[in-house]
Amino acid sequence: MAPNQPQQVTLSPAELSFLRSTLVQSPPIRFDHTKGPKDFRSMRAEYDVLPGANGSARIALEDGTEALVGVKAEVEKSQRRPSPDARGNTLSVAAGDAEMRDTDAENHGKGKGQNSWIETSVEIPGFRDDDPLPVFLASMLTESLLASGELKDRLYINSRFHWKLYIDILLLSPPLSYPLALLSMTTHLALLTSRLPALKSEKDEDPLFDDDWDAAVFLYPKNEGKSLFGAAEDKPPVIVLAMAVGPNIIFDPCMEELAVADAVLAVACANATSSSTRARIVSIRTIDPPSHLTPPGVPNSMNSATGGTVPASSADALTQRELLATSGVWTPPRGGMKRALISQVVKIVVEEGGVAEEVISALQAIELG
């Protein structure tokens, strides 16, 4: 389980209880009452902001949190590894040269990518590099990028060289709400617009690149004409945060809403390239919500100042609190997420016109417009 956010929410037990009671209503009334449960915070986004990077993007959310991502690629020498299929390759060349060339163009680098070719670093002001929050955020983002598998294969140049992709993620503002979704969307946009110089050399020669930047190829190739065949173009994954409060599911929670969450899920989704659904889930993680650390409210019956009696022992206090669970006095939520809720989250994310499709197409629209 990923660590909770460091910033403590400064809400009193009464405020927390009120906030929770509005969120468990049907339909829920969110902290920003104009938003429905599936609405995201509005954002300003731009891409190609840095002259010295292969791809870059900046997203600022309406609450003031802002992230900047720069993607830089460098050519690196691959370590020689004895591969089991090397012998098979030479044999098939002998069998049919023309046939081989066709499959080679199709499967260039297929399955040859390595996880170490992608390096992600997250920088958050006020945090050291080795603090748990940046480390966990970086590993979660890398995990989702690697999970789909296609990206690292695309970094393959030839048997001796490969691209090393450095993804540097900067959170420019203090982490007000859990910044994972913001960082992921910014990374998505930066990767979507990243370009690599076009390769001029062939096969296992030392790589030589076209110095015309206009000829550079996109890291995630765009196939405008081919959409007829139904094979959607591959896009980087994007992580959305979903939070459960009672029976309700709320997407993209803000800081105050996270403070009353029963459980928080980080769902990484990418658009499906083959299956019938429009999106697929790449990875799911639970995040420890800050609500677990909120102070419990003291009910009147346990408060001597209001005519109650202070429980004699801590065990006594615990049993009294158990009985108060539904009384409206704030008690920090315990336990995880119900299985039915998880499947409901997955369904909302993946379904046609669901959250995943909406987010991915919205980020795509930024690039087009």
């Binding site: 840095l50 010295g52 720069g70 420019l172």
Partner: protein, 247 residues
């Protein structure tokens, strides 16, 4: 790799086509980030810097919260983004960075009216997004804008510029001082960074790390101070344009 700047004497044009006293294209924005107390974004050519100000606020450490003698403490943190340079490099806190931080800290603790905020800290976070010369100058200009946005009182704009001497050989006398260097020129020429207080000629920051002949320094300083005055006008226009939105 040594760079041949001898072509300058032929056409009196620099590598990027500027004349000796021309600034690069400067673009600045103020109040770019809603979550910060003050923020700014500054581009000087391809040098891009983003600055956010937190405070005056209670300091982070439990020990000394403010500065000495009931004055606010100014803290500066400079972060080099991994993608900022030509090659991707992670810069840990090296000596150059800490010297830049120290320069900004001392410059702003004397400029800001820190006695108004006892026991508090003003933190400047500077992100260097892209570096192409005049880094310290860009940091100072961005920090000034961000501090203005944060509404922290100061006596005047602190603006900075770089200036260099064009002649590389010792004997050539007809050397023009050059204003606002880019990265290539910085590697080749001896240069200084000068920061002045607004319209006055009062120098507040002056840093020079390379060798130059004594008699050239005066010319370089004059050009640098002149550049600072122009820089002040540019920054002043940015601030006023931002202010017009609320009038």
């Amino acid at each position: 790799m040594p760079l041949d700047t001898s072509t300058y004497s032929l056409a009196l044009l620099r590598l990027d086509g500027r004349r000796w006293n021309e600034l690069r294209n400067i673009h600045a924005q103020i109040s770019t980030q809603a979550a910060a107390d003050g923020s700014s974004y500054l581009e000087m050519g391809n040098t891009k810097v983003l600055c956010t100000v937190t405070g005056p606020a209670e300091g982070r450490q439990s020990g000394q919260r403010g500065g000495k003698d009931n004055e606010a403490k100014v803290e500066v943190e400079i972060g080099f983004a991994g993608f900022s340079g030509l090659e991707r490099r992670k810069r840990k806190n090296d000596k150059r960075t800490s010297e830049m931080q120290h320069t900004l800290e001392t410059a702003y603790s004397s400029l800001l009216l820190t006695h108004l905020y006892p026991h508090s800290t003003i933190t400047l976070n500077i992100h260097i997004l892209s570096q192409d010369g005049s880094l310290l100058a860009a940091c100072i200009n961005a920090a000034t804008l961000a501090l203005i946005d944060a509404g922290i009182p100061m006596t005047d704009y602190l603006v900075a510029c770089t200036a260099a001497s064009s002649a590389t050989s010792a004997e050539s006398d007809n050397s023009d001082p050059l204003l606002d260097l880019n990265n290539l020129e910085e590697q080749e020429l001896s240069f200084l960074t000068v920061g002045t207080l607004g319209r006055s000629d009062r120098v507040s920051v002056l840093i020079m790390e390379t060798r130059v002949r004594m008699e050239r320094v005066e010319g370089m300083l004059a050009v640098g101070i002149d550049g600072c005055k122009r820089m002040r006008e540019i920054l002043d226009r940015v601030v006023k344009e931002y202010g017009q939105r609320f009038s």
